[in-house]
């Protein structure tokens, strides 16, 4: 009855959130507590969001590598800059800049892949498929995770890249949650199901917002039943993949961390999971699965 278990990478989207103190990062921090270092003690992957907004200075990448030096098994997934996915205008210099950083991580065996996240409006038209194909060519040698949110992509697949599975509030023509495999990988992202806040954020699109307003739509704590349903969905793709990435993006107040620990427990044979006391204190539900 045992199902073959692929390699699991479970983590969050981003690690640098002030509101993860004290729910994850301890409040009484010593001067040299490094958040990424702390994070990497518990999780084996991280998705980097900042690369969506800026072209990172390679020195920063160096710091990330050294901050995770103490763990053997830890990989980064780099979100591709919005020039490639939202503006869809880029130069060969920009490609080079991104590739330079990716290569730095790849050399240290710290690269999971690149996340190409497109907006909801990016539906499955010939022109858009062509754009994806072109991007796939620019970054041919890396694992590519394509996040598309429109329903028109729902049964599409490609051998050279992985189409992400996403869990999001089902508004309009949003693609539904159904784990899928591509390129022998399943890359699953959780945005939460805060439908009301999501709708509000659609309505105020383009307005300048505070961090709290921006992140409100991700404010969602998955319930045990939802997680159990999610677990069943993920297990269904086990025999089609070698790697499964589970990335929680419901970051406000540490929901993503708590749910990531819970899914880790569920997907890794129900063994108790090593986690800091801070998170158990913030989310008492985790007590029964904490090692």
């Amino acid at each position: 009855m045992k199902t073959f278990q692929p390699k699991l990478y479970i983590g969050t989207s981003g690690w640098s959130y002030k509101d993860w103190v004290p729910g994850f990062y301890p409040k009484q921090q010593c001067a040299d507590l490094n958040w990424l270092q702390f994070y990497s003690q518990y999780f084996n992957t991280i998705e980097v969001n900042s690369t969506f907004y800026t072209y990172m200075n390679p020195k920063v990448i160096d710091v990330w590598i050294s901050n995770t030096r103490h763990v053997d098994d830890f990989i980064f997934t780099i979100k591709l800059h919005s020039d490639f996915t939202h503006k869809r205008q880029y130069t060969s210099e920009q490609v080079k800049a991104v590739r330079f950083n990716l290569d730095m991580l790849a050399r240290e065996e710290r690269l999971g892949g690149i996340l190409m996240q497109f907006p909801y409006s990016f539906d499955c038209t010939d022109a858009n498929v062509e754009h994806v194909r072109k991007l796939a060519g620019e970054f041919a040698e890396y694992n590519k995770f394509l996040e598309v949110r429109h329903k028109s992509w729902h049964n599409k697949n490609a051998h050279s890249l992985t189409i992400c599975t996403i869990d999001q509030p089902l508004i309009g023509e949003a693609i539904e949650f159904k784990p899928k495999a591509g390129n022998e990988i399943a890359y699953i992202r959780f945005h939460g199901r805060n439908e009301e806040a999501w709708k509000r954020s659609i309505n105020s699109y383009g307005e300048k917002q505070l961090y709290e307003q921006q992140s409100e739509r991700y404010k969602y704590f998955y319930s045990p039943g939802e997680l159990s349903e999610i677990e069943r969905g993920i297990i269904e793709v086990y025999d089609k993949v070698k790697q499964v990435f589970v990335i929680m993006n419901n970051h406000p107040t540490g929901y993503a961390v708590a749910n990531a620990f819970e899914l880790m427990h569920m997907l890794k044979g129900k063994y108790k999971v090593s986690m800091p006391d801070t998170i158990v204190k913030a989310f008492p539900r985790l007590k029964s699965i904490s090692a």
Binding site: M1, D123, C124, T125, D126, V129, V132, R133, K151, S152, N155, K156, N157, A158, H159, S160, I163, L170, I171, G172, E173, A174, K180, S223, P224, G225, E226, S228, E229, E231, R232, K270, P284, R285, K287, S288
Partner: protein, 381 residues
Amino acid sequence: MRTIFHLDLDAFFVSVERLIDPSLNGKAVIIGADPEQGRGVVSTCSYEARKYGVHSAMPIKQAYKLCPHGIYVGGHSGEYSKFSKSVKGILEKYAPMIEQPSIDEYYMDFTGCKHMYVSYHMFAAELQKKIWIELSLPCSIGIGTNKTIAKIASDCYKPLGITYVEPGMEKYFLDPMPVETIPGVGKVMLKGLHNKGIYKIGDITGLSEEYLGTAFGKGGISLWRKAHGNGTEYLNPPTKRKSISKERTYGENVTSKKEIEKTLFNLTGKVCQLLRDKGWQSSTISIKLRYSDFVTLTRAKTVKPTDDDKTIYETAVDLFRKAYTRRVSVRLIGIHLTKFTDFAEQENLFEQEEIVRKKMLRAVTKIRDEFGYKIIHLGSK
């Protein structure tokens, strides 16, 4: 001889509530109506609350009198059904056939499976453990030669009980039990039975079938049979939906071909939505046409399995045009989809034929151009 398992999730709603909020552990938890409102009933309660005499279906007011310090919870129905499906997901890995009569109980037919699982009792224990480890939900299991025995057995020892009534031992198992143990004995019948001095199941087996029949009618005969350890031996597997159809009867009969096609278009949108919700594709498309003189025609066509509005609409319209030959007004038009296959195939993004394939949304746009924007409501959920 059949081997039926009945698995009952112990205080299921309470167990789920405790997963959501572990602070409820070890406390008297009552799920149901709000006692302050004063109306409604207890849907279930924890074993701690049962000690005070609270039980399910009891008026909430009465429960509050018995157990005022209990924790009253409204309940999370969405969560219950999710966990119920997860339990079924586990059982499906083992049981050749499952029937789920309610959210927290499952019948499984393990007839002939003994050699696979060493002993039924040990296997039941393994199943129980599995559900506990995977979902932290306690359950009790009853095993018997039919559904009635299995159900009574699972109720025998709770929580976390396993009761195996070996074939041939049914009478000894049932005889000492109170008559209300038998499923189907309600308040009225119980009173009737007590009036006749029948308290234990053994009291029933001492009487004749005719006597019970005369006294309680059909229900009496069924009771007599159950008391003798007889019951339904076969499970009802869930029936899969075989067709999806939508019809429209006009308030006033219609002669305009264009209007009928418009209706057909709307109906197509609805059936395709249902089809996609199920994750199916249909390969037989039929239409039903009823003239004002009640002459009714059906026409069908088999196509490559599809869930695409455009293909289905075009096929349906084609069928309609061929069928609509009389100069008589139309009373009803309908569309009917059958022969389903699960939608499993994935299309490859970069394949030439895929790029060339006409997109559904374009078809929609085209039809909208012809019939106006409002004609189409794209399914979103």
